[in-house]
C-alpha cells in the first residue's frame, strides 16, 4: 500500500476504479439508466443551475435591499411585499437572497472546478505523455499539496492574500487540481500503452495528434464522472470558507455566509440560517446521489448476493 493510496478518500478510490472501468478494453458499457432517486436528483441539480441563470430576475426583492419591517421575521406579508421565507438579520428577504446566492455559491464553485480540470488534465496528460523528470517534478509537488488538509491550505492563502472572488476561485482550483491531476495522469499512462496508440505512433503521428485524437477522447468519459464529485468538494470548501467569514464577502449573498450571518437568529426561533444550509445540502446530496447511481454496480459477485 503506497502513501498515495492511503491518503485517498473513499469517493476518490471509487471514482478512480470507475474511471478504469470505462477504459477501452473494459467490458461493453452499461446502459445509462438511472433509478427514480437518480432522476429526482438530476431534477434538483438542473433546478439550481436554472436558478443560477434566472434567479436574480425572478427574485421579488434585490439581495441587498432592506425591505422587511424587522429582522428575523417569519414568512409573511411585509410593507413592500410578501416574504416567502421571512427576513434575515438585516431585514432583507431570505428567499431573494437564496435566489441571488445560487449564482455566487454554484457559480464560483463551477468556475473553480472547471479551472481545476483545465489545470489538472493539462498537467496530468503532459506528465503521462512526457514521463521522465517532468512527470517526477509535477508529481512530487502534487503529492506535497495533496498531503495537506484542504481547509488549512485555504486558510493560509487567505491569511496572506485576503479574500476576494478571484482568489477564492484560484485557491480552490489549485487545491482540487491535484486530485484531477492524479486521475488524469493514471488514465493517460494507461491509454499511452494501448496498442492503438502504438499503432498511431508507428504510423508517424505526432505527439499532439495522439493526445488530441486518442488520449483525450478515451479519457473524457471517466473524467466526466469524476467532475460531479469534485464539484461537491469545491462547493463544500467554498461555503465552509464563506461560513468562516473568509469567503464571499458581505453584502453579496452566498449560501455559506448566509448561514453564518443568521446563526444568531436561531435562538429567536428564526429559520433564516436553515434555508441556505438546506439549499447547499440539496445541491450536494443530489450530485452525490447521481454519481452513486451511475457507479452502482449491476449484479455483483456470488458472495455479495448470498451473504
Amino acid at each position: 500500500m503506497t502513501e498515495q493510496v492511503a491518503t485517498k478518500k473513499e469517493e476518490e478510490v471509487l471514482a478512480e476504479l470507475d474511471s478504469f472501468a470505462e477504459l477501452p478494453d473494459a467490458p461493453p458499457k452499461r446502459k445509462f439508466r438511472l433509478s427514480w432517486v437518480g432522476w429526482l436528483s438530476v431534477g434538483v441539480v438542473v433546478f439550481w443551475l436554472v436558478i443560477c441563470v434566472i434567479g436574480p430576475s425572478i427574485a421579488p426583492f434585490h439581495e441587498m435591499d432592506m425591505d422587511g419591517d424587522d429582522s428575523f421575521l417569519p414568512a409573511g406579508q411585509g410593507e413592500y411585499g410578501y416574504f416567502y421565507l421571512g427576513t434575515d438579520y438585516l431585514s432583507r428577504d431570505t428567499f431573494s437572497r437564496i435566489l441571488f446566492g445560487a449564482r455566487n455559491t454554484i457559480g464560483i464553485s463551477l468556475a473553480a472546478t472547471l479551472l481545476a480540470y483545465l489545470m489538472g488534465i493539462t498537467l496530468g496528460i503532459l506528465a503521462a505523455v512526457k514521463g521522465g523528470w517532468i512527470d517526477m517534478g509535477i508529481s512530487r509537488v502534487n503529492d506535497a499539496i495533496l498531503a495537506l488538509p484542504t481547509i488549512m491550505l485555504g486558510l493560509i492563502v487567505i491569511a496572506a492574500l485576503g479574500s476576494s472572488i478571484p482568489i477564492l476561485i484560484g485557491t480552490a482550483a489549485v487545491i482540487y487540481a491535484t486530485s484531477v491531476f492524479r486521475i488524469a495522469r493514471a488514465l493517460g499512462q494507461d491509454i499511452m500503452v494501448q496498442d492503438y496508440v502504438e499503432a498511431a505512433a508507428t504510423r508517424g503521428e505526432g505527439i499532439w495528434w495522439i493526445i488530441r485524437a486518442e488520449v483525450l477522447p478515451n479519457a473524457a468519459m471517466p473524467l466526466a464522472t469524476d467532475f460531479g464529485l469534485r464539484l461537491v468538494f469545491v462547493v463544500l470548501f467554498i461555503s465552509s470558507l464563506s461560513f468562516l467569514g473568509l469567503g464571499v464577502q458581505p453584502p453579496a449573498s452566498d449560501w455559506g455566509s448566509m448561514v453564518r450571518e443568521n446563526l444568531q437568529g436561531l435562538t429567536y426561533g428564526s429559520y433564516a440560517a436553515i434555508w441556505p444550509a438546506l439549499a447547499i445540502a440539496s445541491f450536494t446530496i443530489a450530485i452525490n446521489l447521481i454519481v452513486d447511481d451511475i457507479s452502482a454496480k449491476s449484479g455483483g459477485s456470488l458472495a455479495k448476493k448470498m451473504v
Binding site: E3, L155, G162, F243, A277, A281
Partner: protein, 316 residues
C-alpha cells in the same frame, strides 16, 4: 523488508513535513503585503517600513529567513503575535490542550460506534436497514459540517433546551459542566466523522467478502455471521485501522468549523482569528501544528496497514 518499508514511509512523512513547512513559509511570507506593511497600515512611511522590516529580519533574503524561522520553530520559539504582542507559544498552550481533549473524546466515542454500524451494515447488505445507513451516511458526508452543527443547535438547544448553544468554558467546571459545554461540538464532530468511517468500514468488509476464500466458506455452509466475524473481519482489520487514522486526520477540517460555530476556545478558533486579523506568525504556527498532526496520522495509517499485512510482516 517490512522494516525497510516502514522506514521508507517514515522518511516520506518527514520529507512531506519539510515540504509543508516550505509551503507554509512561502505562502505566508513571500507573497505581497508583508508583515511590516500590515502592522503599520496607512501610517507607513518608507523610513518606518524599512526600520520595522530590519527589526523583523524581513530585509534578509527568503531562504535565510526560512531557515531562521524553521530553526526557531524546532526549538519551540514560535515568535510573537502581531496583534497583542504576546508570545505565540503562550497563546497556543492552553488552546492546544482543549482541541486535543475534544479530538480525544470524538475518537473514543466514534470509533466503536462506526465499526459496529459498519460491520452490521456489511452483514446485511441490500436490506432496508442497510439502505438507510448507506443513504444516511452518504447524505451526511455530502453536506457541510456547519449544516450538521446548525441543525444540532436548532433541535437540541433551541427547540428542546437540552444543551447550551455555545461551548463557553471558564476552566473551573466540574466534570458534568464540562461535558455539558462539550456536548454540542462533540455530537457534531462524532456525526461528521462516524458517517465517513461507517461507509469506509462497510466498503472494506464488503471488499473482503468478494474474495475467493469467502466464497469457499459460503459454499461449505458456514453461517454468515461467523463468516463476517471469523473470516472477513480479521482480514479487514488493516483497512479499518487505515480508516480510523484517516478519519481522525479529517477531524482537522471539522474542528475548524465546529470550534468557530460553538465559540470553543481551541487551536482552530485561534487560527481563524489569526486569519481574520492577518496575524501571519500565529497562522504559520497553527498551520504547522495542524499539518504536522495530519501528516503524522496519515503516516500511522500507512504503517498500520503495512504491519497488519501478514505477507509483509513475515517475508519469505
Amino acid at each position: 523488508m517490512m522494516t525497510r518499508m516502514v522506514m521508507q514511509r517514515i522518511g516520506i512523512g518527514f520529507a512531506t513535513l519539510i515540504v509543508v513547512s516550505i509551503i507554509v513559509f512561502i505562502a505566508t511570507s513571500i507573497l505581497p503585503g508583508d508583515v511590516a506593511q500590515i502592522v503599520l497600515g496607512q501610517s507607513a512611511t518608507p523610513e518606518t517600513l524599512a526600520a520595522l522590516r530590519a527589526e523583523l529580519g524581513l530585509d534578509q533574503p527568503g531562504y535565510i529567513r526560512y531557515f531562521l524561522w524553521l530553526g526557531n520553530m524546532m526549538t519551540g520559539d514560535l515568535g510573537t503575535s502581531k496583534a497583542g504582542g504576546a508570545t505565540i507559544a503562550s497563546l497556543i498552550g492552553g488552546r492546544l490542550g482543549n482541541t486535543l481533549m475534544m479530538a480525544g473524546w470524538v475518537a473514543v466515542i466514534s470509533i466503536p460506534i462506526s465499526i459496529a454500524l459498519g460491520l452490521w451494515a456489511a452483514m446485511h447488505p441490500g436490506t432496508w436497514l442497510d439502505r438507510i445507513v448507506t443513504f444516511g451516511t452518504l447524505s451526511l458526508i455530502s453536506v457541510p459540517e456547519f449544516f450538521i452543527a446548525t441543525v444540532a443547535v436548532l433541535i437540541l438547544a433551541v427547540e428542546l433546551h437540552w444543551l447550551p448553544s455555545t461551548a463557553y468554558m471558564t476552566g473551573e467546571e466540574t466534570f458534568w459542566e464540562l461535558m455539558k459545554a462539550l456536548a454540542m461540538p462533540l455530537i457534531t464532530l462524532v456525526i461528521v466523522v462516524s458517517a465517513q468511517m461507517i461507509r469506509m468500514t462497510r466498503a472494506g468488509i464488503l471488499n473482503v467478502m468478494s474474495s475467493p476464500y469467502i466464497e469457499m466458506a459460503i459454499l461449505k455452509g458456514v453461517p454468515r455471521g461467523r463468516i463476517i466475524l471469523r473470516h472477513a473481519f480479521f482480514n479487514a482489520i488493516g483497512p479499518i485501522i487505515n480508516v480510523i487514522a484517516l478519519n481522525l486526520a479529517y477531524l482537522v477540517s471539522g474542528v475548524v468549523i465546529v470550534e468557530t460555530i460553538f465559540a470553543y476556545p481551541g487551536l482552530a478558533k485561534l487560527m481563524i482569528d489569526g486569519v481574520q486579523t492577518r496575524d501571519l506568525p500565529l497562522v504559520q504556527a497553527c498551520a504547522m501544528i495542524f499539518c504536522a498532526t495530519y501528516v503524522v496520522l496519515i503516516l500511522i495509517a500507512d504503517v498500520g496497514s503495512i504491519l497488519s499485512n501478514p505477507r509483509l510482516r513475515n517475508p519469505k
